[in-house]
């Protein structure tokens, strides 16, 4: 693995290897001394062209727990706001002595471009590019799902995929890099995927995706789902006429208290997942977010482990 740009690039073996290493990393995170020496002396740059506190600190924690040095670069107030190009910024970081670049960028494909050009020649981790992909989010979601199912069944998650699990991804699919990364990874690991959204928030062309598409959240919930991944819906979407208003969105596509009650009454073991940050009361109710089904905080914890595994695999040579 040279870069981590898209979950579509991962084979099943590679994906399971990352999840298995993440299990070890997670275990190390429960010790009194959390730090591992694996990347001592290496420098990881967090190159963030978009505001993101959660993902950046998760990557920062991951790199630091592996003893790497971390440089955080935020576009705001930097040379980028003075018109510096991605190429020049990246080459500057190379000259400073970076060994790997974790990049978040508002343009779809910017990490792929950084990897494909001769600009820097460093391992690149895509930490979210435009509305394209967010592969470490999908890996941490898969990790969380695999671990929860193993816990429930009393089995060992190591070496396992997600075969036969039914996952519904609900919300703003059109603008979601999380949805795209999850689709490819869940398919690779053997899960069945349903995308649920208002038609305005599904891309033209999604009919070609390897998933079922539905506009009816209640029908999908009733069909028996192992996990509901609720996506953040940005308020400004309604100004662009994607839906009439937040109330109507919640009524049809939100995981509200009524739907939570239906789930509880059905006896289903459906997990509730959300990549955060949540809009409580819009795509997810507080009761749903805080229910025992919710894996929201577990996902955050697992995110550090998965990002440790990703950095470790990219920076410590050919493990697979």
């Amino acid at each position: 693995m040279k870069h981590l740009l898209s979950t579509a690039d991962l084979t099943r073996e590679e994906a399971i290897a990352i999840l298995d290493i993440a299990e070890e990393m997670r275990e190390s995170g429960t010790r009194a001394i959390k730090k591992l020496p694996a990347l001592r002396g290496r420098t990881v740059v967090n190159l963030f062209f978009e505001d993101s506190t959660r993902t950046r600190i998760s990557f920062e924690a991951a790199a630091k727990r592996l003893s790497a040095d971390v440089i955080n670069f935020s576009a705001k107030g930097s040379s980028v706001s003075k018109g510096e190009s991605l190429k020049d910024t990246a080459q500057t970081l190379l000259a400073i002595g970076a060994d790997a670049v974790v990049i978040r960028h508002p343009d779809s494909g910017a990490p792929a471009r950084l990897a494909a050009t001769d600009w820097i020649g460093l391992p690149i981790v895509n930490a979210g590019d435009g509305t394209h992909e967010h592969p470490t989010q999908a890996l941490l979601d898969a990790f969380t799902l695999r671990r929860q199912v193993a816990l429930r069944n009393g089995t060992n998650p190591l070496g396992q995929g997600l075969d036969g699990l039914k996952v519904a991804i609900v919300g703003d699919i059109l603008h979601s890099r999380v949805a795209r990364s999850n689709l490819w990874l869940l398919k690779t690991l053997g899960a069945e995927v349903t995308m649920v959204a208002p038609p305005t928030l599904l891309p033209v062309g999604a009919h070609s995706w390897p998933c079922t598409i539905s506009y009816d959240l209640d029908a999908v919930i009733a069909s028996g789902i192992d996990a509901l991944m609720m996506l953040r819906v940005q308020g400004e979407r309604m100004n662009a006429a994607y839906f009439p208003n937040p109330r109507e969105y919640s009524r049809y596509w939100g995981l509200d208290d009524a739907r939570l009650a239906t789930l509880d009454a059905s006896g289903a073991q459906t997990l509730i997942m959300h990549p955060g940050p949540m809009n409580r009361g819009l795509e997810i109710s507080s009761a749903a977010a805080d229910s025992p089904r919710s894996t929201v905080l577990d996902q955050v914890t697992n995110g550090v482990a998965v990002r440790m595994a990703s950095l470790y695999m990219l920076l410590s040579g050919d493990l697979i």
Binding site: S85, P106, S108, G109, A110, G130, G205
Partner: protein, 434 residues
């Protein structure tokens, strides 16, 4: 100097000698060489009327770092062109007689091809107020084609008025058909590939709805409409319908839309970023069929050179556009001749005769016949060459065909009887005082 072209296949058909004297075709037949002529061996070469491009961006004035009238017209000559239309989106915009005369004069001084400035439809391409169309038409540049290319004349009332007004000057409105609201932030064709790449999509309907509106407006006011760079199968159908109805519309397709598809965007390499965007394979096939049945009238390169920093970046930051003058004829041969869709006589029609008629370009696109101006191109259809943007005359290195092996090479170009290209290389410009 006079020239004797020996054994050229005229329009790919009959093999003849052609004698050029004082810038005109003096004789066609079997002709003995004399001491006062330079002989051009054209054995196995096809003789075409000099190519006429309805659509280029020569960037001057304003963006001389990207291209100048001189470098752009050198690229044109190498591509077999003897006339090019230069779009109005320069800085300042070509919306006054002064600017179009400047571009015209730069072309004349350069001496490689006829440079025909296109006038802006609206002041500053702003889509608010008609520019001085009459003054540009009556200037020394004698502008006949008006376009806000790069931007759609979106306001339906303004478009109607423009179509009506240019009738007084025998002009034509060349429309860049792009509904602005449906393409806000658009980066590539909207479809299966954009859904996977997470790129804001550019729907076909944004082009087709404007074309549908404009052909109806052209019919209503009895005006002449030219549709720039048609890129979708739906657009071809609408234009086919309009022509069947007798509407006075002509249509253009670029070489790149005849070959390349949105699958290339998967590389995220901005060399494939262009407006209108690369579409699907079904569109490519529909465009070829549209050329074959006459729905699409002409090839326009939409030659759009950019400095390297505008393409050596991430997709979202990159400029739209591709170079095309030095590869156009090869792409036409590859996609239309070698597929059996067109004869060389058809190629002459779509690359020279009809483009000259649309732009009312004097002395261009004429029949290869005695007494006609000697604007001619000799092409070697058997040649194969590898595209190397760094070896091109254009300043732009943004060729989407880089590295491809293409058929057909321009061996010589005669511009009013003067060879601007010989042996496939730039020769000398024609004197501005000739």
């Amino acid at each position: 100097m006079n020239y004797l072209i020996q054994q050229a296949a005229i329009l790919g058909d009959e093999v003849q000698d052609v004698l050029i004297v004082d810038g005109k075709i003096a004789q066609i037949g079997t002709i003995e060489a004399t001491d006062d002529v330079q002989v051009i061996d054209a054995k196995n070469l096809v003789l075409l009327p000099g190519l006429v491009d309805t659509h280029t961006h020569l960037r001057e004035p304003g963006r001389e770092d990207a291209e100048t009238v001189e470098t752009g017209s050198q690229a044109a000559a190498l591509g077999g062109y003897t006339a090019v239309h230069a779009m109005a989106n320069s800085t300042p915009v070509a919306d006054t007689a002064g600017v179009v005369e400047q571009v015209y004069e730069l072309g004349r001084q350069a001496g490689w091809v006829d440079v025909r400035p296109v006038g802006a439809v609206t002041v500053g391409l702003a889509g608010k107020q008609l520019s001085e169309i009459g003054a540009m038409a009556d200037s020394r540049a004698a502008v006949k084609m008006f376009s806000d290319d790069g931007i759609c004349v979106w306001d339906p009332l303004l478009m109607r008025r423009a179509l009506e007004y240019v009738k007084a000057f025998d002009g034509v409105i060349a429309q860049h058909a792009q509904e602005p609201r449906l393409t806000e932030g658009a980066q590539m064709n909207e479809g299966e590939v954009s859904s996977i790449l997470g790129m804001p999509g550019w729907p076909a309907v944004a082009e087709e709805s404007i074309i549908a509106r404009d052909v109806l407006l052209a019919e209503h006011v009895g005006a002449r409409l030219h549709v720039c760079h048609v890129s979708t199968s739906g657009s071809v159908e609408i234009i086919r319908w309009a022509k069947a109805r007798g509407i006075n519309v002509t249509a253009e397709v670029t070489p790149h839309h005849l070959l390349l598809t949105d699958e290339l965007v998967r590389t995220y390499d901005p060399v494939y970023k262009v407006n209108p965007p690369l579409r699907r394979e079904a569109d490519v096939q529909a465009l070829r069929a549209g050329v074959a049945d006459g729905t699409i009238d002409v090839i326009g390169t939409d030659h759009a050179p950019h400095p390297s920093e505008s393409k050596d970046c991430e997709w979202g930051a990159a400029a739209m556009g591709m170079t095309g003058l030095e590869t156009a004829l090869s792409i036409v041969q590859h996609t239309l001749v070698e597929t059996g869709l067109l004869s060389w006589a058809d190629v002459a029609r779509i690359t020279s005769t009809v483009p000259a008629q649309i732009g009312r370009v004097a002395d261009q696109g004429r029949e290869i016949a005695v007494g006609q101006p000697a604007n001619l191109t000799l092409v070697d259809p058997a040649a194969r060459w590898k595209v190397d943007p760094s070896a091109m005359a254009t300043k732009g290195r943004n060729s989407p065909f880089a590295g491809m092996e293409l058929p057909g090479q321009v061996r010589a170009t005669f511009f009013h009887g003067h060879p601007t290209v010989l042996e496939g290389k730039l020769a000398t410009p024609r004197s501005a005082n000739a």
